[in-house]
Symmetry: C2
DNA sequence: TTAATAGTGTCTCTTAGACATTATGTG
DNA sequence: CACATAATGTCTAAGAGACACTATTAA
């Protein structure tokens, strides 16, 4: 480092942006807010906001999440990739983890902004509430946001951020029990399988999937209850177990 | 976001910190620099420095890396986790990727500093050259840095950052060909195996390892040459192939 | 020669993947 | 009844792990 001289390094604004993912009607969806002001006025963007002086990055992300959706965040052992998170699902809070940081000099035309993106995985939620200066908010299938044909593309570099978040979710459910973060506190094996199918965009064999997840120690904990909310024969209800590492990983079919 | 008002959000300093890893004498080592000034004067720290106005985060990390080690960086498709990197090893540049961002309000007593940590994997290098304001630099086994018995712990939150970087490297070599980034441009199967053994701290069966890496299409490309630099029977030399995803992953023994 | 590492072969056991069958609810 | 989904079972091919053996150099 160069000798400490505050005037020697320029001021940055630091924001958090949120990639909030959920599974709705068999499709992976992300939360988008409509920008009420310039630049990119009227276009869709990821929710986010400035980090305050007295809060750390994860707190800022959790605060923005609460402001936009009312969701409580369940932080994954700080923002660190090496943390030892508790069980992903089974609680009322959404899973939150740091994703990546974006700091190209011209990513915001107003000033130099470094954005620390966070990834949130949540069960299917009621319609989002518009918060702050956003004149609207919606859940949109990620394909609609990444390859928009009707509307304008996402503001700033948010398409890139969203793509990175989706890729993180897709790869991480392969070797962790993170997929349970998309499920409510109690869920069936079939519901969990539909999460994998929606996130990966593939069809999985229900019989092999059932054998796999119920045979992995610590992955699922039966609650004793059953449900018929999916129709057909009553299915056992499970909570997410403590195991967060799937060994061997859940294998994604090759196309 | 709240309406744009530069006075409404506080100024931050943004730095990059580097976790530079290499394998020396069968041990995973990290680059540490001695701080020449307060705070933490005289203690060891990770190399790093302030991000300049005209550069993005990866450029800042590559510049600091060159200043501290003379290494050229081989960026992994930007800083994004979703990038499609080229072959990891086989070139002269070190592998560089964004690790995570650390922004606790009190992590630097002088001012609010948000640090975007980067991970660098490099082949065994000559002794580092001290650069900038660092009054010394060395390669140290990571255990010495993380559980120091003789000296003071790493400055700031750098122990946490280093631990996160090590964990990232340990997990990523399992399902990618990233381990070749620790090797020189041409290397033998035995040399690659010693990388895995040093990073994971385990012993691997040389015969099964050989079958695994040579049997994975696109992982290794024979150069035609041989070497006896490890002693014993001459070994074939390989370059890193283009395949970056190991399917199935390289399995780490359970201790 | 010994000592070192490189490289190939063989066996077993686990498991992913494909697919059949039975179980238990609702309309 | 038909029809949905849940849950368990069977078979096969592939691969991980354990381990024996041969090959080729240097000292």
């Amino acid at each position: 480092m160069s000798p400490y001289d505050p005037s020697a390094h320029p001021p940055f604004a630091v924001t958090v942006d949120l990639v909030v993912l959920t599974v709705r009607r068999h499709a992976l969806c992300a939360l988008a807010v409509r920008r009420g002001e310039s630049p990119y006025q009227g276009q869709w963007a990821l929710p986010g906001g400035f980090v305050r002086t007295d809060e750390n990055l994860a707190e800022a992300a959790a605060r923005e999440l609460a402001e936009e959706t009312g969701l409580r965040a369940q932080q994954s052992a700080g923002t660190s990739p090496a943390g030892t998170p508790g069980p992903y699902g089974g609680s009322n809070g959404a899973h939150l983890e740091q994703l990546a940081t974006y700091g190209d000099p011209d990513r915001d035309p107003r000033m130099r902004v470094v954005s620390v993106a966070h990834l949130v995985l949540a069960p299917d939620l009621p319609a989002p509430r518009a918060g702050g200066d956003a004149s609207g908010a919606r859940w949109a299938p990620i394909d609609d946001l990444l390859q928009p044909e009707q509307s304008a593309p996402l503001a700033f570099d948010h398409a890139r951020i969203l793509a990175d978040g989706v890729e993180r979710a897709r790869s991480k459910i392969e070797y962790s029990s993170l997929a349970t973060a998309f499920c409510p506190a109690e869920f069936t094996v079939g519901e969990l399988r539909r999460v994998y199918e929606a996130v990966w965009g593939v069809a999985l064999d229900p019989r092999n999937f059932h054998r796999k997840v119920t045979g992995t120690p610590g992955f699922l904990v039966p609650t004793g209850g059953t449900t018929t909310r999916q129709g057909g024969r009553p299915a056992q209800l499970f909570r997410a177990g403590g195991a967060t590492l799937l060994n061997p990983p859940m294998l994604r079919p090759e196309v």
